[in-house]
């Protein structure tokens, strides 16, 4: 799937410029709520983490899941239910969402890894649609209404999340922890094995790796992190609805990753930011969001499959090669 080779991927991680940019990015995020509407920023951060989690699977393992909405939306339901009905504190509710998403991921992954490529995409789509129908009919999700009025609660018993800045920095911390976890996974020996599966599955098998187990592990991790994003979103926005488990959501996260750059660390974050900003802009206009989303999809696939960040990397690499 990803067009970045291992060599290119390695070259990316060693850039000093990149480290400076990351530090600048974090500083900007810390300062941002004083300049930009915090709710909008938190939405961006939740979706950016979702896209990064998705990219762990697509970009670094080469598996296209068309069912990640099930983990995102499922976790949103679990944590919203725990926070509202059981009165759990936010940290416990979010943890439950993550665990729930991981279990869902283990079940869906168990079936999906039996097939490869295009079949994998179709199976994950079908299984997540099944979960959608389950959520539509189950009692605890509230059906068409969803779960409304979820209390944000008091984090660790001391930080009141109803204070705007408190919730913003909590979400930022969750986002940074999540992205750091993904970065650690990708750059661990485990992550290198995942990449070898992406590059050449048969060779990985012949080297003695039980590819199925690795794929399943990657699937569960990706699901759990997507769940972290979904659970956080439910606490921030204080509701969980069917929108988050619908197949359109799975499509959206693919678009964010594709637009930003499959198989890059920063790409999905940039992609998520752009897509959320676009949706916010279009929400006030007449132009339907689905049409815009579809057009961007087609343009990305036809013209720049590396995505925005991927293209920048490729250009930088080409320049580097010319010099050397």
């Amino acid at each position: 799937m990803a067009e970045l080779t291992l060599q290119e991927a390695r070259a990316q991680t060693t850039g000093r410029v990149e480290r400076i940019l990351i530090v600048l990015g974090i500083v900007a995020l810390i300062a941002a709520p004083f300049f930009v509407y915090p709710i909008f920023l938190m939405k961006m951060l939740c979706f950016a983490l979702f896209a990064c989690a998705f990219n762990l699977l697509l970009g670094y393992t080469g598996l296209l899941s068309f069912g990640h909405a099930a983990f995102f939306g499922g976790a949103a339901y679990f944590s919203a239910y725990a926070a509202k009905v059981w009165g759990w504190p936010p940290e416990a509710a979010i943890l439950l969402g993550v665990l729930g998403a991981a279990v869902l991921g283990a079940v869906m992954g168990f079936f999906a890894i039996r097939r490869q490529g295009i079949y994998f995409a179709m199976i994950t789509l079908a299984l997540s649609q099944m979960f959608f129908f389950f959520c539509l009919q189950a009692e605890f999700t509230g059906g068409e209404d969803g779960i409304q009025g979820v209390p944000r609660g008091v984090l660790f018993g001391i930080i009141d999340l109803h204070v705007p800045l408190n919730i913003y920095y909590t979400v930022l911390a969750i986002f940074l922890i999540g992205v750091f976890a993904i970065w650690r996974i990708v750059h661990s020996p485990f992550g290198m094995i995942l990449r070898s599966i992406r590059e050449n599955e048969r060779r990985a098998i012949s080297l003695g790796y039980s590819v199925g187990n690795y794929k399943l592990a990657a699937f569960v991790m990706s699901a759990a992190l997507a769940g972290l994003a979904g659970a956080t979103k439910a606490i921030v926005f204080q509701f969980a609805t069917l929108t988050d488990v619908a197949w359109q959501m799975s499509g959206e996260v693919i678009l964010m990753t594709l637009l930003g750059g499959i198989g890059t660390m920063v790409g999905p974050i940039v992609g998520a930011g752009l897509v959320v900003a676009l949706q916010n802009t279009l929400a006030t206009s007449e132009f339907p969001v689905t049409i815009a989303t579809g057009i961007i999809f087609m343009i990305c696939v036809l013209l720049f499959r590396r995505g925005i960040v991927g293209e920048l990397y490729a250009r930088a690499l080409r320049r580097g090669n010319n010099k050397g």
């Binding site: 296209l64 295009i118 995409a121 199976i123 499509g251 594709l258 689905t290 049409i291 999809f297 499959r305």
Partner: protein, 295 residues
């Protein structure tokens, strides 16, 4: 009153018929998907949208131009087929050399655009399409009442499916198509115009979706969302059948439609998900699908 497992036979047969009708559309759509995938290695996510397009072309022909059902039955597939040919030439043809997943993503985007356009102009509510006068009313079969149009849908879809199968299995064009599915470059070396064959195949596949759409118009409401809900079920059908065999796609389509109908009788809550459950079971027992070849 005759009952089967405690269910009145009328209810049983009624749901069987509903299942058979749904199965007809599953069969036609999964057939088109299988034909396209066989040659192009592209999973056509836009298949549901093209089905919707077929229904809307029929609806607009009737409302705007006063063209009735029978001409529309010919015109809608042609129009959808031509639009498919344009899409293949302009876009899909550029994606044959990259990972097949990009074809899926492109057609997904196309489906969103098509659905979005029709939603923008027609809203989400359905538009009724009248049953053609020739097929209005129903026939009393003694044990149940059969609306004529529904009987026609089942028969017509059988004819179209078998017709497509015959074209692929028995004609010269079909033999080129099968040969190109096996080995594209070898067939090209023998002087067959493979790019043209690919274009025609996508056109044919889209036309089949359009045909299913116009057939469905009098049964279901003509709505922008009619395709997207269906296509996911059809994907599951395709996974169950395995895309290796044309006949397999057809048979699986009908079987799963009937299975869904029967579930509605015995356990209605599960009727939405029964196809997916069957898919999961098949993946456990025969990962390559019922008619698929082990990759």
């Amino acid at each position: 009153m005759i009952t089967i497992l405690g269910i009145p036979i009328q209810a049983f047969l009624g749901q069987l018929l509903v299942g058979l009708i749904n199965g007809s559309f599953y069969a036609m759509l999964s057939l088109g998907l299988a034909v396209i995938f066989g040659l192009l290695r592209v999973i056509n996510f836009a298949h549901g949208a093209q089905y919707m397009l077929g229904a809307f072309v029929g609806y607009l022909l009737l409302v705007q131009l006063g063209v009735g059902y029978w001409p529309a039955l010919l015109l809608a597939p042609i129009i959808v087929g031509i639009s498919g040919i344009v899409v293949e030439r302009l876009a899909l043809a550029r994606l044959y050399d990259v990972d097949p997943l990009y074809g899926l993503l492109f057609t997904f985007g196309l489906a969103l655009v098509l659905e979005g356009i029709f939603r923008y102009y027609f809203g989400v509510s359905g538009n009724p399409y009248p049953v053609p006068p020739l097929l209005a009313g129903g026939t009393n079969l003694g044990f149940m009442f059969l609306p004529n149009y529904r009987g026609w849908v089942v028969i017509a879809s059988l004819i179209f499916c078998l017709g497509t199968w015959l074209v692929i299995e028995k004609t010269k064009l079909g033999s080129y198509l099968r040969a190109a599915t096996e080995n594209r470059s070898l067939v090209q070396a023998f002087g067959v115009n493979v790019p043209l064959l690919l274009t025609l195949t996508y056109g044919l596949g889209s036309a089949l979706a359009g045909l299913a759409g116009i057939l469905a118009a009098p049964v279901y409401q003509v709505s922008p969302l009619m395709g997207s809900n269906l296509i996911i079920v059809v994907f599951a059908v395709v996974v169950v059948g395995g895309m290796g065999s044309i006949l397999g796609a057809i048979v699986t389509g009908y079987l799963l439609g009937v299975a869904e109908g029967l579930t509605k009788v015995f356990y209605p809550e599960a009727s939405n998900i029964v196809v997916f459950v069957i898919m999961a079971i098949v993946l456990l027992i025969r990962p390559a699908g019922l008619f698929g070849k082990e990759a």
